[in-house]
Symmetry: D2
Subunit: 323 residues, 4 copies
């Protein structure tokens, strides 16, 4: 993420899942009473690169999609959004796209009904990860959910080994989804193995607690991680705002922007997209935290996650309005 990397072809390449969101068309009611669903691309790392592309970053994606109508829709949508999809692999074993049916009972009461059994994204194999592709990125963004099962887990470790070999920064978005994991011990072990190799780590306090398999505190968390390869750690505390810690010892605080919340989905992904965009554009950490909060505030006021990703102009307008 420094100047000497400027010549790289991609700012960020993400690895993980690209799925479908099926969002209730009729909302503010239980899903049982919803009869129509709108289809969007979803999945945290997919959302982040789509958001990044919309902000002007050069982004690519490594993942596995099904050989069916949903898979083709995902690839086309992402390509149209400006994401390089040359390294998205088409599954040949009948696996399906992950699905997230969203239920919006009220802004405070949202839930997701997930289809994650035998989904294509978790079948990406290590030998399908391309060393030359990763080499061309400034940063590799790893989504924690991709660690939940083999062989996707090994594909991520393979990507990390390539990234380290070629001096590509590793960004770890914890992105924890309990339903995909077999045990809390397993999660803690693999999250720790990746976090100790990552340069930038972003997650909610709850997600860091999952990684540590205990109720922890920020001071202890960052002290441990800065002993390894981390240089920047962002810990989000919901409406109370977020903290960015640097290896050099600084702490930066970001505050959440008020917005008319429709639903809570997609907030974290839009946060990460804008935060990384700001950093890669050379803005300082305080500014990056503002971009992140503004981006999250915009997405939660809209119906979708991927489609709703804001432009730089929208973000800056919101920041301006709140200064």
């Amino acid at each position: 993420m420094q100047q000497e990397m400027v010549s790289k072809k991609y700012d960020i390449i993400a690895i993980g899942r690209a799925c479908l969101d099926l969002n209730a068309v009729e909302y503010n009611r239980p899903m049982e009473e919803t009869l129509t669903f709108s289809k969007y691309v979803g999945g945290s790392p997919a959302n982040i690169v789509i958001g990044g592309a919309k902000l002007g970053l050069k982004v690519g994606f490594i993942g596995k999609i099904p050989d069916d109508q949903h898979g083709r829709f995902i690839q086309k949508y992402m390509a149209d959004a400006g994401v390089d999809t040359s390294n998205m692999v088409t599954d040949q074993e009948g696996h399906k796209a992950g699905l997230a049916f969203t239920e919006i009972k009220s802004p405070e009461e949202c839930s997701i009904l997930m289809y994650r059994e035998g989904v294509a994204d978790l079948y990406l194999r290590p030998e399908e990860v391309n060393e030359d592709y990763i080499k061309e990125a400034k940063a590799l963004l790893v989504s924690g959910t991709a660690l939940a099962q083999s062989p996707s887990r090994e594909a991520v470790f393979q990507a990390i080994q390539y990234a380290k070999k070629h001096g590509v920064e590793i960004i770890f978005e914890l992105d924890y989804r309990g339903y995909t994991w077999k045990s809390v011990y397993e999660t803690a072990i693999y999250y720790t193995l990746v976090a100790e190799q990552a340069n930038v780590i972003i997650g909610t306090r709850d997600e860091f607690d999952v990684m540590e398999n205990r109720k922890g505190d920020n001071a202890t968390t960052v002290e441990h991680l800065f002993k390894h390869r981390a240089r920047l750690i962002v810990i989000k505390h919901g409406v109370e705002g977020s903290y960015a810690y640097t290896k050099s010892g600084e702490t930066h605080r970001g505050t959440a922007y008020k917005s008319k919340v429709l639903k809570t989905f997609g907030a974290g992904d839009s946060y990460a997209a804008a935060f990384l965009y700001a950093l890669l554009s050379g803005k300082n950490i305080d500014t990056a935290l503002k971009y992140a909060s503004a981006s999250a505030a915009i997405v939660v006021s809209k119906h979708s996650s991927s489609e709703a990703m804001p432009t730089v102009a929208e973000i800056e307008a919101l920041i301006q309005a709140n200064e």
Copy 2:
């Protein structure tokens, strides 16, 4: 299906899957270009009992549904349609509802994108099948797809043993879906084991071929099955119409009714519902074949399968119009 059974509480109890259909709202195009889907109850045996209830039959259902919004929707929809759902079991292990995304490119070119991995209906266990419930039915309708995996397969065999014990007729709707089965040999074996115990067997010629694991002919098929417990066998030949064979040696031919076809889904289920309704109402086989064809013709002209099931009046009107 005879007079002495008149005192039974249910005309038909079906065992098998109750799932969701997600039908393309925008059709006559590839699914990749469909952005909205409508939700309906689906699954062959569920459709048949919903259709039967609409025609006035007393029907019940044995199956397993997920403990989520989709499961609750399915149960409520079926109960509202007049199906007894007291023996639908709620899954406690996180299994999901089967999904069928339908694609209607043109009336001739329809396809289905299925989600059948780890679905609740295939996890019905034999000990969850209630002997006293089956005893109260004139007929038990078995859907072939319920044989595809354990423990649903064993639940079906359990239901069949109860039916035989209590003199309940066994209707076998072949309902073959290739994607759920591991091998053609396995299908042939279990289809044969059930067909040899069934009193009424209904399927397409292709489905009977699957059962025999060879390209067969009606004469040989019925000769074999009449050596066992069958008394009535219906073999459907698509637009060429269908044949009903009786143990006593009669052959009845049914012809297909012309209709403005929107899609081909649901034709078989509406056929079976109307055919069984007619038989149970004391109509003769030729009339039952007309009801079946008329019912199928009506459903293929509409957008859904379950919701589109016709009334007796609609069926009789179509028959009238074609006499």
Copy 3:
């Protein structure tokens, strides 16, 4: 088993497992203190055909053996013993031979430590069962344990369909081993499905209870089975002797012979071998029961099961000595 079958090439073809027994060389002690084990062929249906061959029957075997030293030993041992092994299939997927480590603490306290995880015999597939081979047998002997898992379960049903098609008698040896089964309901269902198609059924009272999934009695058991295809049912009650029931209504009682018991393994297999030998040789049921008891008495006094199978002379000598 009648005269008209005399022209058949085989008296009995068995389907099921052929495994290894590893018998404690030092016995009358816990297995923890045993340091040496002797290797024998084992597995109920293998033992029965080996025993049958020794008595002069023409026997064959359908089963799957591993592609390793144990598999080759099993095949050679059986061939040398006079069993036709032309239809034993060699596994190509790395499955292993089942193992039974026997522990003989005292004649009354014997136990077996089984290795049955991923064993080759349970991977026999229906398409590996040869119709022409079964056609050449007077009787097909089905071992209940072969029903425990797919695809072996389906291979058995395939064999039964061929047997029925060609008028080959079906002998069902219940041979129940709890550790291979997932649930008592599953066992009851498949045992019943096979028993209702079998002509001769042999098992202990405990095994019939497993089949009925309740504590039952002989009268009810035979009443039910004689409604299907059974003509002869043998129910063993341990030291109290055994009962043979015929469809025509006769009951025959067999008494156990006293012997110096070394261990209890192998008694049932030697019983079945001698009983079937006697029947196929035209002896009456009372005599067949004597042969069975004598054969069992001889095997329990020796160290192995397969290797210890007696000759006709040995059996007749024991009978003589007890008249």
Copy 4:
């Protein structure tokens, strides 16, 4: 392994498998012709701690054993040999002990028939690894085979995290067994993840090639590993001897001792036991390599692996005889 650690309760705690070897009593022939087998404790890490205990090291073992006669034999044998077994967990899910039937056709032609399906050792869970126990060791010895499957793989990573936290040295014995692994990519990934955290790494050149997933050379291998936490790397080249590389840049060569070879099994384990004993006793690397070679030479001349582990006196006598 330095002076300041002298106060620790254990010199080495190993984590991994403790299994059974079933060695042909009659050898110099194919296993098909072997009729008797002798039972020994086996498994690389179990052999190493047994060997270490015999040499006077204070050793402990972390692993999972079955709740059966084999499991009890293993635990008692190891305890009697002087290994602390307080952290060996008894499996409660019916898993069995791994088995290795050894075939000795000639000293040059030895092979092993493995039973590794569903074995207890691979079911050790991370939450069964005790932090306080590992803290008490100078070194944690990790066997590569324990990485082959979940949850044993995660148990190893958990143990490594504890070892790093408490300054316990990590010794990685590559111990690669192809049959337990699903893919070469997976092996390479997990071997690399552990090797980059280990302080001492021991393996054959072939095993290092597996770790690198290519035909590599020692210079490149050690250059990479010394960038991480390694301080000592031993690469064995069979009869050509072995090389020990130190972080400070030294290379030490060990030569193989001649001996009357009976079989090749157990050589690597006895090598590791004696090498680590010598290092922990303060001997220099050249001497440690001699101890290792002598120990290996003694074991290959005997029938078993664990039971044959030599004493210090035997090792020193062989070294003396060859000076």
